[in-house]
Amino acid sequence: MRVTSTGSPPRRLPERLRYAALALAVAGAQAHAQLFAPGEPKLLPPEQAFRLSARALDPATIEARFDVADGYYLYRDKLRFSVDPVGAAAAALPPGKPKHDEFFGDVEIYRGVVAVRVPLASAAPGRTLTLSADSQGCADAGVCYPPTHGQVRLTLPERAGKPGPFVEAARKGWFK
C-alpha cells in the first residue's frame, strides 16, 4: 500500500463530503491492516504463557511449577527462586532441552511443565511464606518477554505428609 503524505487535507466538493465518513472507515481499515500485519503472531501475555504456581511438599520444601504454554519456552539459566522470610537453599533445576544461541552459546530451555524443588534454608512448620520466581522466556513465533517476577504465597504444613494444594501466582508485581 502506498502511503501518501499531504500537508493539508485536500479540498472536497460538498457531495463528496457525504462519502467522507465511509472513506475514513476505509482509511481506518487500511490503517488497521497496516499497523497489524496479518503475519503478526497472536501472543499470550507472559503470565499466561508461563503460568507459575507452587505448593508445599513438607515443612522444609516448596515445589515451584511453571506451566509453559505450547509454542513457548523458558530459559533454564534465567530461573531464580527465593523464599521470604526463611530463605531458600539452591534449587535443583531439572535438565532442560539443549538450544544453541549464537550470542550466548549452548543454553537449555524448558517446555511444558517444569517442576522445581526449592528446599528452604530451614524447616518452618506452619509458617506462611512467599516464594519468588524470576524467569525469562520466549515464543516460537519470534518474540521474547523481559525477565518477569512472580510471587506465590503459601503456608507450610505442620508436619510431613501429603503435599499441599497448588497455589497460583499473584498477578501483581509481575514485571521487575
Binding site: 500500500m1 502506498r2 502511503v3 501518501t4 503524505s5 499531504t6 487535507p9 485536500p10 463528496r16 462519502y19 465518513a21 465511509l22 472513506a23 475514513l24 472507515a25 476505509v26 482509511a27 481506518g28 481499515a29 487500511q30 490503517a31 488497521h32 497496516q34 499497523l35 497489524f36 500485519a37 503475519g39 503478526e40 503472531p41 501472543l43 499470550l44 501475555p45 507472559p46 534465567k78 544461541d101 549464537e102 550470542f103 525469562q136 520466549c138 515464543a139 513465533a141 519470534g142 518474540v143 521474547c144 518477554y145 523481559p146 525477565p147 514485571f175 521487575k176
Partner: protein, 178 residues
C-alpha cells in the same frame, strides 16, 4: 492502538469500491483511525552507549525506524543484520534506524561491535519496556518496532520480527514519498 469496530468494518467493506474510485489513498492522513501521531516517539530522550543523552527529535523529518530490542532476545538479534543492511542502503535517502536496548550498556556494546551496528542504539534498560507499552506494545515483548514517516506519523508498528519484504516495501514507500 487503533481500534476499528465491527460496524466500521462493515461500512468500510461496502465502501471500498467507491473509495477506491473517489477517495483513494489521498485520505491517508493524520486522523482518528489513520496514521497515529508519533509525537510520543519523538519525545523520547535516552542515553547512548557512551552515556550521552540523545533526543529522538533530532531525527525528525527522516523516515525513522525505532526498534526496541535486547541481547537476551534471540529474535531481536536475528533481525538486526537486515536493519544494518537497510541503514547502509537507504540512509542517504533519509532513512534512520534507532535501536532502544532493553538491556545493560556492556552487553549492548559487545553485541553492537560483533554485529557492526551502523546506527545508534540507545540504552533504555528494563524501563524501556514500559515506554514501549505506552507506544502500543501491549504485551511488553520484543522485538517491537515503530516506523514513522517524514511527518512524524506512526505508519507501522510491529511486534515480532519485521519481515525483510515488509521492511523493504515500507522503506520504498516512505523514503520514496519524501
Amino acid at each position: 492502538m487503533v481500534q476499528v469496530n465491527r460496524r466500521t468494518f462493515v461500512i468500510g467493506g461496502a465502501a471500498i469500491a467507491a473509495a477506491a474510485v473517489g477517495a483513494g489513498v489521498a485520505l491517508w492522513r493524520p486522523g482518528r483511525n489513520a496514521a497515529r501521531d508519533g509525537a510520543a516517539v519523538l519525545a523520547m530522550v535516552l542515553p547512548d552507549a557512551d552515556g550521552r543523552e540523545q533526543a529522538l527529535a533530532q531525527w525528525r523529518g527522516k523516515v525513522l525506524v525505532v526498534n526496541f530490542w535486547a541481547t537476551w532476545c534471540a529474535p531481536c538479534r536475528e533481525e538486526m543484520p537486515q536493519f544494518v543492511a537497510a541503514q547502509a542502503r537507504d540512509g542517504a535517502k533519509g532513512v534512520q534506524f534507532v535501536g532502544i536496548a532493553v538491556d545493560d550498556v556492556d552487553k549492548v556494546r559487545v553485541f553492537a561491535r560483533e554485529l557492526g551496528l551502523n546506527y545508534p542504539t540507545l540504552i533504555g534498560g528494563y524501563g524501556a519496556i514500559e515506554l514501549s507499552r505506552t507506544l502500543g506494545n501491549d504485551l511488553a515483548a520484543l522485538p517491537f518496532t515503530i516506523v514513522l514517516d517524514r511527518q512524524g506519523r506512526v505508519v507501522h508498528t510491529q511486534l515480532g520480527p519485521l519481515k525483510a519484504a515488509r521492511l523493504d516495501s515500507l522503506l520504498a514507500d516512505l523514503a520514496g514519498a519524501g
